[in-house]
């Protein structure tokens, strides 16, 4: 399965890239499992995420073709 990953703000700067195009075995995994697959470590504290531009948790399932975003706590307004 293919997943399109985006990073924002401090996370984007720390990782040095705006995103990843991930090729993964199987047909589903969670947002948290995807992070571990991409970064070989546990998700950082207070990490926020979205799947297909909707709020998600580390337990939200990710499927082929999905758009996944990881970002720090939001600070708008």
């Amino acid at each position: 399965m293919t997943v399109h990953v985006h990073y924002f703000a401090r996370l984007r700067e720390e990782l040095g890239r705006q995103g990843d195009a991930a090729e993964l075995p199987g047909d589903s995994l969670t947002v948290g499992e995807l992070w571990r697959h991409l970064h070989q470590e546990a998700p950082p504290e207070r990490l926020m995420a979205a799947v297909n531009q909707e709020q998600a948790s580390l337990e939200t399932p990710v499927r082929d073709g999905d758009e996944v975003a990881y970002f720090p706590p939001v600070t708008g307004g």
Binding site: A69, P72, G76, G77
Partner: protein, 145 residues
Amino acid sequence: MAVEIYTGDFDPWEIVRQAEQAIPANARGAASVFVGRMRDFNEDEDVTGLFLEHYPGMTERELERIVAEAEARWPLLGCHVAHRVGDVRPGDALVLVATWSAHRVAARDACSDILERLKHEAPFWKRETLTDGTQRWVEKNTPGF
């Protein structure tokens, strides 16, 4: 209901004036307006510039969801949300939340709820530039209640 993202400076009061024209004059008993602007200080340091990053697409969807949920909870006659992105200067408007209802409680509570949810749920991030040129990401928004 309207949600707008501005890449340049906007006049929140002109938006309020125009949006109010679309609401039946004899029914709009109450309007509640919040305007947030960029300060030139934060956490005891002088701030000379601000960059607002966002997640195009999700930003609009989140704001529309937050407004729709407020409309389901309170009897609103109108609601307008505007938010700035990109490079911002001190004094520029950052956010506008305006709500109209027949009565004050619905207008006031909906305006406050939309603003607080925007600050904790909508995908915007602030990066400040200090007087010595260093930049820092704002870590988190403080609770509003």
